[in-house]
């Protein structure tokens, strides 16, 4: 387990109060353990040293006292001297070796007779696991007489170790208790502001209420944080207010403008409708009176008079058609956008048949491909087909073998329909003019028309979410395209 993971496991998901407590406990524990170990090591070392010193002192005294006993071969006296060791209960056994390394006198603290080293070892004190052993030379002045052997058990050390362990554990427990109490008392100065802050943040995010403020409790970093937090809230509140105000104003303005626009639009529509309508009345009068002139005064008019009357009637009727087209164009806005799924193939065939009654289409070579069903305003789309096919018939009418091709391409998100003829065509650079009202590339004398048809097509297709474009070269025919968006239900219906 690496360090990052360890700290994560120890701290990551804990509440701040517990985190503090755990940190303090950890530090406390580590510090106490390290200090305890250092003290223990030091104490252990000094205790051992003190034990050696004590034993060494006793050894020196005993050795000094036993010189005469050795010198004058008195084991009884030596035994008596050694018996003084009874005052030191940790010395479990002792003996004196004579000059030749033979045991001269023995001492046992208890009844148990322990084995002594067969011969004296080197001078000095040595710790074994259970004992402290020492060899002390017995000398009178400079004269070596023998060796004293002392064996001290480690009972003192062991009992001391036990005591120390108990003391350390007690200190550990007491300090943990103290640390706990202190953290509970002092930790509040850190945890309370943080908890208050987080509580405030929670309330704000739950209620979206930016008027709530965190209480500043101290003048430290946490205080600064609280202040910054509150300032941030102020700013958010201000911006929120501004945004709300702005939104309201915007809505109001949009509403206002929409109303204005609607009014203007209605006025405009009403205006164009009434204009068109009013324009027809004098026209009817002109046509009516011209007809009377033709029928009742035919015998009084010479050839020139008849020709002029016919021109007046023709132009007047032409103006009537123009007004009809304009009326239709302006009424487009009033149609509702009800969309239905319909059979495109059938619609095109109908339109073709209807147009065949109005135009001379006998020569035309028709080619109609598969057309997908679409979901759109059927009457509008019908109008589109009428205009496009009528155009094709018109502009290819002067050809010796006119051809009209109608078809469709299915793309990812749209259907593209087209009408292609082999008529006079037009210059591609003027193609964008085609779809504007009253814009014509050919004169009315050459090809009849009002210049409203393609504008109407453009308007309808745009409203249906599609687009219109044309491709041509002069004398090589023209292709008119319009696209309609694919809707899922259309595909289902089609299948």
């Amino acid at each position: 387990m690496n360090r990052v993971k360890l700290t994560e496991v120890l701290f990551k998901n804990l509440p701040i109060r517990k985190k503090l407590l755990r940190i303090v406990f950890l530090i406390n524990g580590i510090v106490l353990l390290v200090a305890g170990m250092a003290f223990f090591g030091n104490e252990f070392y000094s205790f051992k040293k003190a034990t050696v010193e004590k034993l060494s002192t006793i050894g020196k005294i005993i050795a000094a006292n036993s010189t005469a006993a050795l010198a004058f071969d008195s084991p009884d006296d030596a035994r008596e001297i050694l018996a003084a060791l009874r005052a030191e209960p940790h010395i479990v056994a002792a003996c004196i070796y004579d000059k030749n390394g033979k045991i001269f006198s023995e001492y046992y603290a208890g009844n148990e007779k322990s084995k002594f080293p067969p011969s004296p070892g080197p001078q000095g004190y040595r710790f074994s696991y259970t004992n402290l052993d020492g060899f002390v030379p017995v000398m009178q002045e400079t004269l070596p007489l023998g060796t004293l052997y002392l064996r001290s058990d480690m009972g003192a050390l062991h009992s001391w170790l036990g005591l120390y362990a108990v003391v350390v554990v007690v200190i550990l427990l007491v300090s943990f208790l103290l640390a706990y109490i202190l953290v509970r008392l002092l930790g509040k100065s850190i945890s309370t502001p943080i908890l208050a802050l987080s509580e405030t943040a929670k309330i704000i995010s739950e209620r979206n209420d930016y008027t709530v403020r965190a209480t500043k409790m101290s003048n430290d970093e946490l205080g600064t944080l609280t202040e910054a937090f509150n300032q941030m809230l102020d700013q958010i509140k201000k911006k929120d207010d501004n945004l709300n105000e702005f939104n309201q104003n915007l809505e109001l303005k949009v509403h206002e403008r929409t109303e204005q626009l609607e009014t203007v639009n209605k006025e405009l529509e009403g205006f164009s409708y009434s204009v068109s309508h009013d324009l027809r009345a004098p026209l009817r009068a002109i046509v009516g009176f011209t007809s009377i002139l033709e029928e009742e005064y035919a015998n009084r008019l010479d050839v020139e008079g008849k020709r002029i009357t016919s021109i007046i009637k023709k132009n007047t009727m032409k103006m009537g058609r123009l007004i009809d087209d304009l009326l239709e164009f302006s009424q487009l806005g009033r149609h509702d956008g009800t969309k239905t799924s319909f059979n495109m193939q059938k619609m095109v065939k109908d339109v073709k048949d209807v147009l065949a009654t109005q135009y001379n289409t006998g020569k035309i070579n028709w080619s109609i491909g598969d057309l997908p069903n679409v979901n759109a305003n059927a009457s509008m789309i019908r109008q589109v087909w009428v205009n496009l096919i009528a155009n094709a018939i018109k502009y290819s009418g002067k050809m010796e073998a006119p051809q009209i091709e109608i078809g469709a391409m299915t793309k990812v998100s749209e259907y593209v329909f087209f009408v292609t003829d082999n008529g006079v065509g037009f210059d591609q650079q003027y193609s964008d003019k085609l779809f504007k009202v009253f814009q014509r590339l050919h004169s009315a004398e050459e090809f009849e028309g009002t210049g409203v048809g393609l504008a109407l097509v453009n308007k309808i297709i745009t409203r249906e979410g599609g687009s219109v474009w044309a491709e041509s070269e002069p004398g090589k025919g023209a292709s008119f395209y319009f696209s309609l968006p694919v809707r899922n239900e259309i595909r289902i219906n089609h299948q």
Partner: protein
């Protein structure tokens, strides 16, 4: 010294285990002494006594005036028949006391004995012993003997064989009068006697 001690220890080691028991000590000593007699090697008893004599030099302090200078020897004298053979000389050879080399001298008459520091008197006749003691009683000489009336005669240290062990009797008062200072450790081992009073 070490050589002698090793010889001694080897000798002891050769003895059967049962004999090493203190109970047979006297018997062994007695047998050895009768067998060896005046032979080259002294009995175990006198080997011990020779070591004791040397050890006295370490446990007794003599007055400074008894040494003409720092290097002058500390003399152990033997008067009467020499019971130690070469053993005593070997025991002290190379040894010193506070820088004074320890030497052994053998005397025929008491006149020369005045100038030693310790005198082992091995004279069976009580009169002769008395004579020697009287001769040197003013000198700081530690007189040593086995004789039973030695203390009464004014001798200072007596070897007593008791319970198979060699014990010491010291006339402390007399020692002090002569300026001889036996170590307290020595006195602890020894029986202190006062011949003036009835023992």
């Amino acid at each position: 010294m070490q050589v002698i001690m090793s010889i001694l220890s080897r000798l002891i080691q050769r003895l059967p285990r049962t004999v090493w028991n203190g109970r047979y000590w006297l018997t062994v000593l007695f047998v050895l002494s009768t067998i060896s007699g005046n032979a080259q090697n002294p009995s175990l008893e006198y080997q011990l006594k020779a070591v004791f004599l040397f050890n006295f030099t370490q446990f007794v302090d003599w007055p400074a005036e008894s040494f003409p200078n720092n290097k002058s020897p500390l003399v152990i004298g033997v008067i009467g028949e020499n019971p130690f053979g070469k053993y005593l000389e070997q025991a002290v050879s190379g040894e010193t006391k506070n820088g004074h080399p320890v030497v052994v001298q053998y005397y025929r008459d008491e006149e020369a004995a005045k100038f030693c520091h310790m005198l082992f008197i091995n004279l069976p006749e009580s009169d002769k012993r008395k004579q020697v003691i009287e001769k040197i009683k003013e000198e700081p000489v530690l007189t040593v003997s086995d004789a039973s009336d030695f203390s009464i005669q004014g001798g200072l240290v007596r070897f007593v064989t008791r319970k198979n062990k060699i014990k010491l009797q010291i006339n402390l008062e007399a020692c002090k009068e002569l300026g001889l200072v036996p170590s307290s450790k020595l006195l602890k081992l020894a029986d202190i006697i006062e011949p003036g009073k009835t023992n």
